[in-house]
């Protein structure tokens, strides 16, 4: 048999199977499993060699065919538990094929009906009522159109949805004062203690900025005794020299 068959010509594994059965002039009720399975597999194999994507459905059917074939090769064993109606392993497949064949025929029937704009034409509607919005064409509105409209709305919405942030006005100046306060009180403080547990990310960032500002203004010193040891912060000026007036937001450049 020529293998000049493209899987794309087939609507699915059932379609391909029907084609093979017909070309072999087999009785659909008495499919020769060995032959059909072989041919089916060779088509699939051929497609694979051409590096074409063989859809999962076709492979699933291949597995089914092999299973049925092997089941038929086994001698029929008397069921011990008295299950008498030993079904033909092909029965389910045959039923599906017949059913599928029927809908294929039905599809042909539909195609032969006179179709709008192909065989039959309607009077062109004269746009008489130009009032209001453009109305939906000739589709009566149903649930699908409703869901579709919402989907479309979300997809094409002009509005950019950004997470709404309530900006907490954390001031660097406040944190500068806070650090200076703490250092005036206890002389020195470890870097880790500047970030108490439970602080938000924003608080941490602002605290760190405040610390850098203080270093820049040479108001604090940072020291570490050795690598990986705690980092210590201490005042570089006497606490009386600290002039809070210079340390507002504007002066720090965060205004």
């Amino acid at each position: 048999m020529s293998i000049a068959i493209s899987l794309h010509n087939f609507d699915g594994p059932l379609d391909l199977l029907l084609h093979l059965i017909k070309t072999n002039e087999m009785d659909i009720a008495d499919i020769q499993m060995v032959e059909i399975t072989e041919q089916y597999l060779s088509v699939i194999e051929h497609m694979k060699q051409l590096d074409l994507d063989v859809a999962g459905e076709f492979l699933l059917m291949a597995a089914t065919l092999i299973y049925i074939k092997s089941k038929m090769l086994l001698p029929a064993i008397e069921e011990i538990d008295g299950e008498e109606d030993e079904l033909d392993p092909r029965a389910e497949l045959v039923r599906r094929l017949l059913e599928y064949q029927r809908y294929k025929d039905a599809a042909n029937c539909l195609d032969q009906l006179p179709c709008l704009k192909r065989d039959v034409f309607l009077r062109q509607v004269v746009a008489s009522d130009a009032d209001g919005d453009r109305v939906d064409d000739d589709i009566s509105i149903g649930i699908y159109q409703l869901a579709s409209a919402f989907h479309h709305l979300l997809k094409h919405s002009q509005v950019k949805f950004v997470h709404e942030i309530v900006r907490e006005q954390l001031s660097v100046a406040d944190f500068v004062h806070k650090i200076l306060d703490q250092l005036s009180r206890c002389g020195q403080q470890s870097f880790a203690d500047l970030f108490p547990n439970g602080g938000t990310r924003q608080e941490m960032v602002v605290t760190f900025l405040a610390m850098l500002e203080l270093v820049k203004m040479q108001m604090i010193k940072i020291s570490q005794s050795a690598d990986f040891q705690p980092i210590w912060l201490s005042l570089a000026v006497s606490s009386t020299e600290v002039d809070p007036a210079n340390l507002d937001e504007g002066a720090l450049g965060y205004g």
Binding site: L14, R96, L98, A106, L110, F121, L122, V125, D138, S148
Partner: protein, 205 residues
């Protein structure tokens, strides 16, 4: 013909879609039994294959359409190529037309392939409607054909679908799973599948 008779013809002629008897009754404020003879008279006046177009009974109503045998002449008129169904779309549509209400899973079992894309296309083109959710685990959506489907294929209603002899004879022997599912179908489905003629756009009171 009397004025009402002429007016009925003019209204059917002018309407955008097939005009149901109910809508005509509403517009003329009279009963169906009063209008039936009027329609019969018009069908006699505008028969098929006489005057180029005829009064057709379509999608639960009436509509003037060109004679199908004149298609070759008319195709010269339309600039855009006629809409063509792919084999996959046609098969899927046939399954839904004959088996509705039907779920995507049932369609895929019958076709043996994934059918999401085809379903979406058919829904987008207005050939299908969602009939509700099936009362089985997972509550899958149930599909059926739309009024546009009937209009497109020039069908009076679903019973006008071509009968397939073996088709109906073998129908009960669908796979056991689907059969079982159908058995558990609740009686109060959102839309009875056979009452398609009632699906005409709702009227405003």
């Amino acid at each position: 013909m009397d004025e009402r008779c002429r007016a009925v013809a003019a209204l059917i002629f002018a309407a955008e879609h097939s005009m149901s008897l109910d809508r005509l009754c509403q517009l003329f404020d009279c009963s169906r039994s009063e209008l039936r003879p009027v329609i019969a008279q018009l069908q006699e006046l505008y028969p098929i294959q006489v005057g180029g177009f005829y009064l057709a009974e379509v999608a639960g109503g009436y509509q003037f359409r060109t004679d199908p045998d004149l298609a070759p002449w008319l195709s010269k008129l339309s600039r855009d190529r006629p809409f063509r169904f792919s084999q996959a779309a046609l098969e899927t549509l046939a399954m839904i037309a004959y088996r509705q209400p039907v779920t995507r899973g049932e369609i895929e079992y019958l076709r043996g392939v994934d059918s999401g894309g085809v379903l979406k296309t058919l829904l987008d083109k207005g050939f299908l409607r969602i009939l509700g959710k099936k009362d089985v685990p997972g509550r899958p959506l149930m599909y059926g054909t739309s009024k546009h489907f009937l209009e497109f294929f020039g069908l009076k209603d679903l019973s006008a679908l071509p009968t397939l002899k073996e088709f109906s004879a073998l129908e009960p022997t669908l796979d056991p799973v689907v059969a079982a599912e159908s058995a558990t179908m609740t009686d109060d489905r959102p839309v009875p599948s056979h009452q398609f003629t009632n699906e005409v756009e709702p009227t405003t009171e």
